[in-house]
Protein backbone atom coordinates (compact mmCIF):
# COMPACT_ATOMS: atom_id res chain seq x y z
CA UNK A 1 0.00 0.00 0.00
CA UNK A 2 1.38 3.36 -0.94
CA UNK A 3 0.23 6.77 0.15
CA UNK A 4 1.28 10.03 -1.33
CA UNK A 5 4.62 11.43 -0.29
CA UNK A 6 5.82 8.45 1.69
CA UNK A 7 9.60 8.48 1.88
CA UNK A 8 9.69 4.71 2.02
CA UNK A 9 8.08 4.66 -1.43
CA UNK A 10 9.21 7.87 -3.04
CA UNK A 11 12.38 8.92 -1.23
CA UNK A 12 15.96 8.45 -2.39
CA UNK A 13 17.21 4.90 -2.53
CA UNK A 14 19.20 5.04 0.69
CA UNK A 15 16.39 6.67 2.63
CA UNK A 16 13.99 4.03 1.39
CA UNK A 17 16.46 1.35 2.38
CA UNK A 18 16.75 2.74 5.90
CA UNK A 19 13.00 2.98 6.36
CA UNK A 20 12.40 -0.45 4.95
CA UNK A 21 14.99 -1.95 7.28
CA UNK A 22 13.03 -0.66 10.24
CA UNK A 23 11.12 -3.09 12.39
CA UNK A 24 7.43 -2.54 12.49
CA UNK A 25 5.65 -2.41 15.77
CA UNK A 26 5.13 -5.97 16.83
CA UNK A 27 2.01 -7.28 18.55
CA UNK A 28 2.07 -8.59 22.09
CA UNK A 29 2.80 -12.22 22.68
CA UNK A 30 0.33 -14.25 24.70
CA UNK A 31 2.76 -14.33 27.62
CA UNK A 32 3.20 -10.56 27.54
CA UNK A 33 -0.54 -10.08 27.39
CA UNK A 34 -1.07 -12.41 30.34
CA UNK A 35 1.55 -10.63 32.43
CA UNK A 36 0.15 -7.24 31.54
CA UNK A 37 -3.36 -8.28 32.42
CA UNK A 38 -2.25 -9.70 35.72
CA UNK A 39 -0.74 -6.34 36.54
CA UNK A 40 -3.90 -4.50 35.50
CA UNK A 41 -6.02 -6.85 37.58
CA UNK A 42 -3.71 -5.98 40.44
CA UNK A 43 -4.19 -2.27 39.83
CA UNK A 44 -7.96 -2.65 39.92
CA UNK A 45 -7.89 -5.00 42.89
CA UNK A 46 -5.69 -2.71 44.94
CA UNK A 47 -8.04 0.15 44.23
CA UNK A 48 -11.08 -1.95 45.02
CA UNK A 49 -9.54 -2.91 48.33
CA UNK A 50 -8.96 0.74 49.10
CA UNK A 51 -12.55 1.55 48.17
CA UNK A 52 -13.71 -1.20 50.49
CA UNK A 53 -12.34 0.75 53.42
CA UNK A 54 -14.62 3.68 52.83
CA UNK A 55 -17.17 2.38 55.31
CA UNK A 56 -14.63 2.28 58.11
CA UNK A 57 -14.72 5.07 60.64
CA UNK A 58 -12.06 7.71 60.49
CA UNK A 59 -10.33 6.33 63.55
CA UNK A 60 -9.56 3.10 61.76
CA UNK A 61 -8.90 4.61 58.38
CA UNK A 62 -5.28 5.45 58.94
CA UNK A 63 -4.43 1.94 59.98
CA UNK A 64 -6.55 0.58 57.14
CA UNK A 65 -4.69 2.66 54.61
CA UNK A 66 -1.56 0.94 55.76
CA UNK A 67 -3.11 -2.38 54.83
CA UNK A 68 -4.10 -1.00 51.46
CA UNK A 69 -0.56 0.19 50.93
CA UNK A 70 0.59 -3.35 51.55
CA UNK A 71 -1.87 -4.52 48.90
CA UNK A 72 -0.50 -1.97 46.47
CA UNK A 73 3.09 -2.89 47.24
CA UNK A 74 2.31 -6.55 46.93
CA UNK A 75 0.13 -6.54 43.87
CA UNK A 76 1.29 -3.50 41.97
CA UNK A 77 4.96 -2.94 42.65
CA UNK A 78 5.32 -0.26 39.97
CA UNK A 79 2.74 1.90 41.69
CA UNK A 80 5.34 2.91 44.19
CA UNK A 81 8.16 3.62 41.76
CA UNK A 82 9.12 7.24 42.32
CA UNK A 83 8.49 9.53 39.39
CA UNK A 84 7.25 6.61 37.40
CA UNK A 85 3.88 8.11 36.68
CA UNK A 86 3.69 11.48 35.03
CA UNK A 87 0.49 12.86 36.34
CA UNK A 88 -1.07 16.16 37.05
CA UNK A 89 -1.99 14.96 40.52
CA UNK A 90 1.00 13.08 41.87
CA UNK A 91 -0.16 13.49 45.43
CA UNK A 92 -3.00 11.11 44.71
CA UNK A 93 -0.67 8.16 44.39
CA UNK A 94 -1.11 6.92 47.93
CA UNK A 95 -4.30 8.71 48.77
CA UNK A 96 -7.81 7.45 48.32
CA UNK A 97 -8.45 6.20 44.79
CA UNK A 98 -10.24 8.34 42.25
CA UNK A 99 -13.90 7.82 41.60
CA UNK A 100 -14.30 5.08 39.11
CA UNK A 101 -16.78 2.72 37.66
CA UNK A 102 -18.54 0.79 40.36
CA UNK A 103 -17.44 -2.84 40.21
CA UNK A 104 -20.06 -5.47 39.78
CA UNK A 105 -21.04 -7.14 43.02
CA UNK A 106 -19.43 -10.49 43.71
CA UNK A 107 -21.03 -13.47 42.08
CA UNK A 108 -22.44 -16.32 44.07
CA UNK A 109 -20.27 -19.39 43.99
CA UNK A 110 -20.35 -21.20 40.70
CA UNK A 111 -22.39 -24.39 40.59
CA UNK A 112 -20.35 -27.53 41.00
CA UNK A 113 -19.41 -29.39 37.87
CA UNK A 114 -17.79 -32.76 37.37
CA UNK A 115 -14.43 -31.20 36.69
CA UNK A 116 -13.93 -29.86 40.18
CA UNK A 117 -10.57 -30.68 41.59
CA UNK A 118 -10.44 -31.38 45.27
CA UNK A 119 -10.62 -28.05 47.01
CA UNK A 120 -10.56 -26.92 50.57
CA UNK A 121 -13.34 -24.80 51.99
CA UNK A 122 -12.47 -21.19 52.52
CA UNK A 123 -13.12 -21.45 56.25
CA UNK A 124 -9.89 -23.38 56.58
CA UNK A 125 -7.92 -20.31 55.61
CA UNK A 126 -4.63 -19.93 57.41
CA UNK A 127 -4.15 -17.21 59.96
CA UNK A 128 -3.14 -13.76 58.90
CA UNK A 129 0.37 -13.58 57.50
CA UNK A 130 3.16 -12.41 59.73
CA UNK A 131 3.67 -9.25 57.71
CA UNK A 132 0.33 -7.82 58.79
CA UNK A 133 1.47 -4.29 59.55
CA UNK A 134 -1.06 -3.59 62.25
CA UNK A 135 -1.65 -6.53 64.57
CA UNK A 136 -3.10 -4.19 67.16
CA UNK A 137 -5.43 -2.56 64.70
CA UNK A 138 -8.95 -2.41 66.11
CA UNK A 139 -11.36 -4.96 64.79
CA UNK A 140 -13.56 -3.97 61.91
CA UNK A 141 -16.51 -2.06 63.23
CA UNK A 142 -20.06 -3.14 62.80
CA UNK A 143 -21.90 -1.35 60.05
CA UNK A 144 -24.20 1.51 60.65
CA UNK A 145 -27.75 1.41 59.39
CA UNK A 146 -27.06 3.33 56.19
CA UNK A 147 -23.69 1.86 55.41
CA UNK A 148 -23.21 -0.90 52.87
CA UNK A 149 -22.54 -4.33 54.26
CA UNK A 150 -18.93 -4.78 55.20
CA UNK A 151 -16.85 -6.47 52.56
CA UNK A 152 -14.65 -9.38 53.45
CA UNK A 153 -11.54 -8.11 55.12
CA UNK A 154 -9.30 -6.92 52.30
CA UNK A 155 -6.00 -8.66 52.43
CA UNK A 156 -3.20 -8.14 49.99
CA UNK A 157 -2.31 -11.78 50.03
CA UNK A 158 -5.79 -12.91 49.10
CA UNK A 159 -6.03 -10.40 46.25
CA UNK A 160 -2.70 -11.43 44.92
CA UNK A 161 -3.74 -15.07 45.26
CA UNK A 162 -6.98 -14.39 43.39
CA UNK A 163 -5.15 -12.66 40.58
CA UNK A 164 -2.55 -15.38 40.42
CA UNK A 165 -5.13 -18.15 40.20
CA UNK A 166 -7.10 -16.45 37.47
CA UNK A 167 -4.02 -15.64 35.44
CA UNK A 168 -3.06 -19.30 35.62
CA UNK A 169 -6.51 -20.14 34.33
CA UNK A 170 -6.22 -17.56 31.58
CA UNK A 171 -2.81 -18.81 30.54
CA UNK A 172 -4.16 -22.35 30.13
CA UNK A 173 -7.40 -21.38 28.46
CA UNK A 174 -6.34 -21.92 24.87
CA UNK A 175 -4.42 -25.15 25.26
CA UNK A 176 -5.78 -26.65 28.48
CA UNK A 177 -9.37 -25.50 28.96
CA UNK A 178 -10.20 -28.34 31.36
CA UNK A 179 -7.38 -27.26 33.62
CA UNK A 180 -8.45 -23.64 33.29
CA UNK A 181 -11.98 -24.60 34.32
CA UNK A 182 -10.69 -26.55 37.30
CA UNK A 183 -8.69 -23.51 38.40
CA UNK A 184 -11.77 -21.29 38.23
CA UNK A 185 -13.58 -23.82 40.39
CA UNK A 186 -10.75 -23.84 42.86
CA UNK A 187 -10.97 -20.05 42.90
CA UNK A 188 -14.71 -20.22 43.53
CA UNK A 189 -14.16 -22.59 46.43
CA UNK A 190 -11.40 -20.52 47.93
CA UNK A 191 -12.96 -17.12 47.25
CA UNK A 192 -16.73 -17.59 47.08
CA UNK A 193 -17.23 -13.82 47.26
CA UNK A 194 -13.93 -12.90 45.69
CA UNK A 195 -13.29 -9.49 44.25
CA UNK A 196 -12.45 -11.02 40.89
CA UNK A 197 -15.51 -13.23 40.70
CA UNK A 198 -16.76 -11.70 37.48
CA UNK A 199 -13.41 -12.34 35.85
CA UNK A 200 -13.58 -15.89 37.15
CA UNK A 201 -17.00 -16.43 35.66
CA UNK A 202 -15.92 -15.08 32.27
CA UNK A 203 -12.98 -17.46 32.24
CA UNK A 204 -15.16 -20.39 33.28
CA UNK A 205 -17.68 -19.64 30.55
CA UNK A 206 -14.93 -19.38 27.99
CA UNK A 207 -13.44 -22.68 29.17
CA UNK A 208 -16.78 -24.45 29.03
CA UNK A 209 -17.27 -23.22 25.50
CA UNK A 210 -13.85 -24.48 24.48
CA UNK A 211 -14.66 -27.85 26.04
CA UNK A 212 -17.75 -28.12 23.89
CA UNK A 213 -20.09 -27.70 26.84
CA UNK A 214 -21.99 -24.96 25.12
CA UNK A 215 -25.26 -25.42 26.98
CA UNK A 216 -23.62 -24.85 30.34
CA UNK A 217 -21.55 -22.04 28.93
CA UNK A 218 -24.61 -20.35 27.49
CA UNK A 219 -26.61 -20.68 30.68
CA UNK A 220 -23.87 -19.17 32.78
CA UNK A 221 -23.18 -16.46 30.23
CA UNK A 222 -26.83 -15.46 30.18
CA UNK A 223 -26.88 -15.38 33.95
CA UNK A 224 -23.83 -13.16 33.99
CA UNK A 225 -25.23 -11.01 31.22
CA UNK A 226 -28.32 -10.31 33.28
CA UNK A 227 -26.10 -8.85 35.98
CA UNK A 228 -23.61 -7.10 33.75
CA UNK A 229 -25.96 -5.32 31.38
CA UNK A 230 -24.74 -1.81 30.74
CA UNK A 231 -21.19 -2.53 31.83
CA UNK A 232 -18.22 -3.08 29.58
CA UNK A 233 -18.39 -6.74 30.42
CA UNK A 234 -21.55 -6.91 28.36
CA UNK A 235 -19.62 -6.79 25.10
CA UNK A 236 -17.26 -9.53 26.21
CA UNK A 237 -20.10 -11.76 27.33
CA UNK A 238 -22.01 -11.22 24.12
CA UNK A 239 -18.86 -11.98 22.15
CA UNK A 240 -18.49 -15.27 24.00
CA UNK A 241 -22.17 -16.07 23.52
CA UNK A 242 -21.86 -15.28 19.83
CA UNK A 243 -18.96 -17.70 19.52
CA UNK A 244 -20.82 -20.61 21.03
CA UNK A 245 -22.28 -23.22 18.71
CA UNK A 246 -26.01 -23.30 18.30
CA UNK A 247 -28.08 -25.39 20.69
CA UNK A 248 -28.65 -28.13 18.12
CA UNK A 249 -24.94 -28.44 17.45
CA UNK A 250 -24.02 -28.73 21.08
CA UNK A 251 -23.19 -32.33 22.00
CA UNK A 252 -23.56 -31.53 25.68
CA UNK A 253 -27.19 -30.48 25.25
CA UNK A 254 -28.32 -34.08 25.07
CA UNK A 255 -26.78 -35.04 28.33
Amino acid sequence: MSERGRLRDEGPDEVRAILRAARRSRPMTDAERARSRARVVGIAAASAAAAGLSWAPAAAFGAGLGAVAIVAWTVVPALVAPAAIPSTAPSARHAAPPPEARPLPPLPPAPPTPLVASTQPAVAAPPAPARDPSPSMPAAPSTSADAPPPPPAPAGDSLAREAELLERARAGLAGRPAEALAITQAHAAEFPAGKLSVERELLAIDALGRLGRATEARARAEGLLARARGSLYEDRIRAILGGLPSQSADPSSNR
Partner: protein, 188 residues
Protein backbone atom coordinates in the same frame (compact mmCIF):
# COMPACT_ATOMS: atom_id res chain seq x y z
CA UNK B 1 -2.28 -4.33 11.91
CA UNK B 2 -5.09 -2.02 12.76
CA UNK B 3 -4.58 0.71 15.27
CA UNK B 4 -8.13 0.73 16.39
CA UNK B 5 -9.52 -1.86 18.70
CA UNK B 6 -12.46 -3.83 17.36
CA UNK B 7 -14.98 -2.10 19.53
CA UNK B 8 -15.10 1.33 21.01
CA UNK B 9 -16.96 1.45 24.30
CA UNK B 10 -19.89 3.76 24.20
CA UNK B 11 -19.48 7.06 25.93
CA UNK B 12 -21.30 7.25 29.21
CA UNK B 13 -21.14 3.55 29.96
CA UNK B 14 -19.26 2.35 32.99
CA UNK B 15 -15.61 1.88 32.22
CA UNK B 16 -13.26 -0.49 33.92
CA UNK B 17 -9.51 -0.61 33.52
CA UNK B 18 -9.53 -4.37 33.03
CA UNK B 19 -12.05 -4.18 30.21
CA UNK B 20 -10.09 -1.34 28.65
CA UNK B 21 -6.98 -3.46 28.84
CA UNK B 22 -8.77 -6.33 27.15
CA UNK B 23 -9.97 -4.10 24.35
CA UNK B 24 -6.96 -1.86 23.87
CA UNK B 25 -3.82 -3.58 25.17
CA UNK B 26 -2.51 -4.12 21.65
CA UNK B 27 -3.16 -0.52 20.78
CA UNK B 28 -1.21 0.70 23.81
CA UNK B 29 1.56 -1.78 23.13
CA UNK B 30 2.02 -0.64 19.52
CA UNK B 31 1.63 3.03 20.38
CA UNK B 32 4.41 2.82 22.94
CA UNK B 33 6.71 1.22 20.40
CA UNK B 34 5.93 3.99 17.95
CA UNK B 35 6.77 6.46 20.67
CA UNK B 36 10.18 4.89 21.06
CA UNK B 37 9.84 2.72 24.14
CA UNK B 38 12.47 0.03 23.99
CA UNK B 39 11.43 -3.62 24.07
CA UNK B 40 13.04 -4.10 27.47
CA UNK B 41 10.95 -1.28 28.94
CA UNK B 42 7.66 -1.96 27.20
CA UNK B 43 5.95 -3.95 29.92
CA UNK B 44 6.86 -1.53 32.68
CA UNK B 45 5.83 1.52 30.69
CA UNK B 46 2.63 -0.22 29.68
CA UNK B 47 1.81 -0.67 33.31
CA UNK B 48 2.43 3.01 33.92
CA UNK B 49 -0.07 3.78 31.17
CA UNK B 50 -2.75 1.61 32.74
CA UNK B 51 -2.14 3.04 36.19
CA UNK B 52 -2.85 6.47 34.71
CA UNK B 53 -5.83 5.14 32.75
CA UNK B 54 -7.26 3.73 35.96
CA UNK B 55 -6.64 6.90 37.87
CA UNK B 56 -8.00 9.21 35.19
CA UNK B 57 -10.91 7.12 34.01
CA UNK B 58 -13.47 9.32 35.66
CA UNK B 59 -12.24 12.28 33.63
CA UNK B 60 -12.94 10.61 30.30
CA UNK B 61 -16.02 12.40 29.05
CA UNK B 62 -16.59 10.62 25.77
CA UNK B 63 -15.87 13.73 23.71
CA UNK B 64 -13.19 11.82 21.84
CA UNK B 65 -12.61 8.23 20.94
CA UNK B 66 -11.38 6.23 23.86
CA UNK B 67 -8.31 5.32 21.81
CA UNK B 68 -7.55 9.00 21.29
CA UNK B 69 -7.76 9.58 25.03
CA UNK B 70 -5.56 6.57 25.72
CA UNK B 71 -3.10 7.71 23.08
CA UNK B 72 -2.74 11.04 24.87
CA UNK B 73 -1.83 9.14 28.02
CA UNK B 74 0.68 7.03 26.09
CA UNK B 75 2.22 10.22 24.74
CA UNK B 76 2.64 11.78 28.18
CA UNK B 77 3.95 8.62 29.77
CA UNK B 78 6.40 8.06 26.90
CA UNK B 79 7.55 11.67 27.15
CA UNK B 80 8.27 11.22 30.84
CA UNK B 81 10.07 7.99 30.16
CA UNK B 82 12.14 9.64 27.45
CA UNK B 83 13.15 12.47 29.76
CA UNK B 84 14.24 10.04 32.44
CA UNK B 85 16.11 7.93 29.90
CA UNK B 86 18.00 10.98 28.68
CA UNK B 87 18.86 11.92 32.22
CA UNK B 88 20.17 8.41 32.82
CA UNK B 89 22.05 8.67 29.50
CA UNK B 90 20.61 5.37 28.43
CA UNK B 91 19.96 6.45 24.88
CA UNK B 92 20.45 5.94 22.04
CA UNK B 93 18.75 2.63 21.59
CA UNK B 94 20.82 1.86 18.53
CA UNK B 95 23.65 0.50 20.61
CA UNK B 96 21.47 -2.22 22.01
CA UNK B 97 21.47 -5.66 20.47
CA UNK B 98 18.38 -6.90 18.70
CA UNK B 99 15.82 -7.71 21.32
CA UNK B 100 12.87 -8.89 19.38
CA UNK B 101 13.96 -12.31 18.31
CA UNK B 102 14.39 -11.31 14.69
CA UNK B 103 15.80 -14.37 12.95
CA UNK B 104 19.36 -13.81 11.79
CA UNK B 105 19.90 -13.23 8.15
CA UNK B 106 21.52 -15.98 6.13
CA UNK B 107 24.13 -13.50 4.94
CA UNK B 108 26.18 -11.73 7.59
CA UNK B 109 26.80 -8.68 5.39
CA UNK B 110 23.05 -8.18 4.99
CA UNK B 111 22.57 -8.59 8.68
CA UNK B 112 25.22 -5.98 9.44
CA UNK B 113 23.81 -3.57 6.88
CA UNK B 114 20.29 -3.94 8.23
CA UNK B 115 21.46 -3.41 11.79
CA UNK B 116 23.43 -0.35 10.82
CA UNK B 117 20.42 1.05 9.01
CA UNK B 118 18.21 0.42 12.01
CA UNK B 119 20.78 1.96 14.31
CA UNK B 120 20.91 5.12 12.22
CA UNK B 121 17.15 5.24 12.05
CA UNK B 122 16.83 4.79 15.80
CA UNK B 123 19.25 7.63 16.45
CA UNK B 124 17.28 9.91 14.15
CA UNK B 125 13.92 8.95 15.61
CA UNK B 126 15.19 9.47 19.16
CA UNK B 127 15.98 13.06 18.29
CA UNK B 128 12.66 13.86 16.66
CA UNK B 129 9.87 15.56 18.51
CA UNK B 130 7.77 12.86 20.08
CA UNK B 131 4.53 13.70 18.31
CA UNK B 132 6.26 14.01 14.96
CA UNK B 133 8.03 10.75 15.58
CA UNK B 134 4.78 8.94 16.31
CA UNK B 135 2.98 10.12 13.21
CA UNK B 136 6.08 9.47 11.12
CA UNK B 137 6.42 5.91 12.39
CA UNK B 138 2.73 5.22 11.92
CA UNK B 139 2.92 6.25 8.28
CA UNK B 140 6.44 5.42 7.13
CA UNK B 141 7.19 2.27 9.08
CA UNK B 142 3.87 0.76 10.08
CA UNK B 143 2.30 2.00 6.83
CA UNK B 144 -0.98 2.98 8.38
CA UNK B 145 -3.31 4.96 6.14
CA UNK B 146 -3.84 8.61 6.99
CA UNK B 147 -7.48 8.03 7.83
CA UNK B 148 -6.59 5.55 10.54
CA UNK B 149 -3.93 7.84 11.97
CA UNK B 150 -6.48 10.64 12.02
CA UNK B 151 -8.90 8.49 13.96
CA UNK B 152 -6.32 7.72 16.61
CA UNK B 153 -5.13 11.27 16.97
CA UNK B 154 -8.67 12.63 16.92
CA UNK B 155 -7.84 15.15 14.18
CA UNK B 156 -8.99 15.66 10.59
CA UNK B 157 -7.12 13.85 7.84
CA UNK B 158 -5.85 17.17 6.55
CA UNK B 159 -4.15 17.77 9.87
CA UNK B 160 -2.49 14.37 9.59
CA UNK B 161 -1.09 15.32 6.20
CA UNK B 162 0.31 18.58 7.52
CA UNK B 163 1.83 16.86 10.56
CA UNK B 164 3.30 14.18 8.34
CA UNK B 165 4.81 16.81 6.11
CA UNK B 166 6.44 18.50 9.08
CA UNK B 167 7.60 15.16 10.46
CA UNK B 168 9.17 14.17 7.15
CA UNK B 169 11.01 17.46 6.96
CA UNK B 170 12.35 17.03 10.45
CA UNK B 171 13.32 13.46 9.71
CA UNK B 172 15.25 14.50 6.64
CA UNK B 173 17.09 17.24 8.52
CA UNK B 174 18.03 14.84 11.31
CA UNK B 175 19.03 12.14 8.85
CA UNK B 176 21.22 14.61 7.01
CA UNK B 177 23.05 15.28 10.26
CA UNK B 178 23.33 11.59 10.99
CA UNK B 179 24.46 10.64 7.54
CA UNK B 180 25.71 13.62 5.56
CA UNK B 181 24.58 13.31 1.99
CA UNK B 182 21.30 11.71 2.95
CA UNK B 183 18.08 13.37 3.90
CA UNK B 184 18.19 15.96 1.14
CA UNK B 185 16.12 15.94 -1.97
CA UNK B 186 13.57 13.55 -0.65
CA UNK B 187 10.85 15.99 0.09
CA UNK B 188 8.96 15.79 -3.09
Amino acid sequence: MSLLAPSQPTAGRPLDVRAIHDAHADFVWCSLQRLGIRPADLEDVMQEVFVVVHRRLASFDGSSLLTTWIYGICLRVAAGHRRRAWIRRELPTAELPDEDGTPPSERPDELVAARQARAALDRVLERMDLEKRAVFVMSEIDELPAGEIAAVLGVPVGTVWSRLSAARKQFQVMLGRERPGLGRGAGR
